[in-house]
């Protein structure tokens, strides 16, 4: 602590340079945080996927349906505990930009399959009684300022026509990473009005008794429907979600590439600034060494300075990112989960310290090895 005035004095030495260096860290860490948020959003389904749930879909493609009759047959397979199903609706509210995911669900079994979603019993009962009722996630409810009892017209893009729903309940999530933008309604309502062949569902979700037994159960499911008109592909919910994310491209690689370039640039900027700063202060460092500041202490002071820039800039960048995420998903539903996770913050802090340390290391070594007599002679 007693070196703090010296450290602060050095940080404030060239104010414009300090502002620009800290600004670089701020922008870089803001961007890093944002990339982390986007990555988290794309992968949230993978992160929160239930370990005891399998997804059964049409082997040909996810957009191809499966017969509703499979529900009973799936329940008979050894290792299977519960079965539910859902279908993608793909409608929009008022205009195309108002997108959010809508699912036609099996009212009897869906809630039990996803205990991570919290819905008051009374609301669920009201929903179950109303064929045109729906349950809306908290984020979507707040996004459109809806309330329970509102009638919501949804323009179908696959099933054609305008569909009316009445909000009977709202669900929240137990974890921050769970998606609360979904909209659930009765599969029976869809099945009744669909212009396509009836009694087909989008996919099944199966709960198994033993998560360690996921492989054999998935194999048993697919074998059960092999050589039928609707062959299946069964995988864990995590693998299914990961495959879904892959359809958008290798998001992680893109994020890693952009993040690495930003951090490397930051390293060059800070390293350059620190080198310049030390070169300007050769004489002062020589004096410090002359009066008894040892090489290690000098090394520590220079490193503390570069880490100081990093910590201030990193703190500002991550704080700004946090503030930015508080206003919610700016993409109108493309990123259903939009928050700065603790994990991203920890990574950010780690990267901040690492860049601060690495960028200061060469100037710090130069200062540490500085020969007092030579330095004095240079002035």
């Amino acid at each position: 602590m007693k070196y703090l005035p010296l450290l602060l004095a050095n940080l404030g030495r060239k104010k414009m340079r300090t502002i620009l260096t800290i600004g670089s860290f701020t922008v870089a860490l803001f961007l890093f945080g944002l990339l982390g948020v986007i990555d988290m959003s794309f992968n949230q389904g993978v992160e929160v996927a239930g370990v005891d749930r399998l997804i059964v879909r049409n082997k040909t493609s996810l957009i191809m349906p499966l017969p509703i009759a499979y529900k009973e047959r799936l329940g008979q397979i050894q290792g299977v505990k519960d079965v539910t199903f859902a279908s993608w609706f793909g409608g929009v509210y008022q205009e195309p930009k108002n997108f959010f995911p809508q699912f036609a669900i099996d009212v009897d079994t869906y809630r039990g399959m996803f205990p991570e979603f919290i819905i008051p019993d009374q609301q669920w009962e009201d929903f179950a009684r109303d064929r045109q009722g729906c349950i809306v996630g908290r984020k979507t409810l707040e996004r459109f300022n809806w309330k329970i009892g509102d009638r919501i017209p949804i323009q179908a893009t696959i099933y054609r026509g305008l569909w009316d729903f009445t909000i009977r309940g709202v669900y929240d999530a137990k974890r921050e990473a769970d998606d609360t933008t979904q909209f659930w309604f009765h599969f029976n309502y869809l099945n009744e009005r669909t212009p396509f062949p009836k009694d087909y569902v989008g996919w099944y979700t199966v709960r198994i008794h033993d998560p360690d037994n996921a492989g054999p159960v998935a194999k048993a499911v697919d074998e059960r429907f092999a050589n039928s008109s609707f062959e299946t592909t069964t995988e864990t919910e995590k693998a299914f979600m990961a495959g879904f994310v892959k359809q958008f491209g290798n998001i992680k690689l893109i994020i890693l590439s952009v993040g690495s370039v930003v951090m490397f640039t930051l390293l060059l900027i800070t390293g350059g600034n620190m080198s310049l700063s030390i070169r300007e202060r050769i004489n002062e460092i020589a004096v410090l060494k002359a009066i008894g500041f040892g090489p290690v202490r000098v090394l520590g002071l220079v490193l503390a300075e570069s880490i100081g820039y990093a910590v201030i800039g990193g703190f500002l960048g991550l704080s700004l990112c946090k503030l930015f995420t508080l206003s919610g998903d700016p993409t109108n539903g493309l990123l259903p989960v939009f928050f700065l996770s603790h994990e991203t913050v920890l990574y950010g802090i780690g990267i901040t310290l690492l860049v601060g340390l690495v960028s200061g290391s060469i100037p710090a070594l130069v200062a540490m090895r500085l020969n007092i007599v030579d330095a004095m002679r240079r002035v």
Partner: protein
């Protein structure tokens, strides 16, 4: 020879010092067989033309550099053979440096500049404050503690540098052209202050200077010529 008779009670005893520098394949002999005794409370000036080895000798006495051969006993301890690490600690305890260009840290106040050497000690914050205030009072700048170097005149800056040099109560002060960058009036003030430190506070001061007026303030003057120490002002052989 008289000087050698007092060698045993000398604060600083330099024995057969040689200092060479290597420039490519050429060896440059900067100091040649320098012998010297300085007693506690002496005010010593080293004079000589540029390149005569004055600053090199000062650097050796201050533990900033090591001799090629010979011994430098300071208060009975030979610093010529000390490791760099040991020398660093030794300097912080025994030497107060005063430079021609003051070499204050421009972004720190006079108080903070003077406090710097005390950061290396175990003194508490309040003890450090007491020491700094005392040092600044000695140099007559008690009312300029919160001023930055840019807010001080050259003479005042040098006085802050002197306060920084004496704040740890070192064994001796090394001054490299302390008045070289000052006008005559300010130079006289600094020389008055150094004289007072010797007379009233029993400090030992070693000063390198080109200025004969400054050198005349010293009780003992040595002349260096091409790395060889000539007789001192008292007519004694070093």
């Amino acid at each position: 020879m008289t000087n050698n008779l007092h060698a045993q009670d000398a604060l600083i005893a330099v024995k057969n010092i040689h200092k060479n520098y290597q420039r490519g394949s050429e060896t440059i002999e900067v100091l040649r067989d320098v012998n010297l005794n300085i007693h506690k409370g002496e005010f010593v000036a080293f004079m000589g033309p540029s390149g005569s080895g004055k600053t090199t000798l000062l650097n050796l006495l201050g533990g900033l550099d090591v001799p090629t051969s010979g011994h430098i006993f300071i208060d009975g301890e030979d610093i010529a053979g000390m490791s760099a690490k040991k020398l660093t600690t030794w300097r912080s305890r025994h030497v107060g440096f005063i430079f021609q260009m003051y070499n204050l840290i421009p972004v720190m106040t006079a108080f903070q500049n003077v406090e710097l050497p005390l950061l290396l000690t175990r003194l508490s914050k309040s003890e450090r404050r007491r020491h700094v205030e005392a040092a600044l009072a000695i140099v007559g700048l008690a009312d300029r503690m919160s001023h930055y170097p840019r807010q001080l005149s050259g003479g005042q800056e040098q006085r802050v540098a002197i306060a920084r040099a004496i704040v740890t109560d070192p064994t001796f002060l090394l001054c490299d052209e302390p008045t070289g960058d000052l006008d005559r009036k300010s130079a006289n003030e600094i020389l008055d202050l150094l004289t007072r430190l010797v007379q009233e506070h029993a400090k030992t001061v070693l000063m390198v200077t080109h200025d004969p007026l400054a050198a005349n303030r010293a009780g003992t003057r040595f002349h260096l010529e091409k790395g060889v120490l000539a007789v001192n002002s008292k007519g004694e052989a070093p």
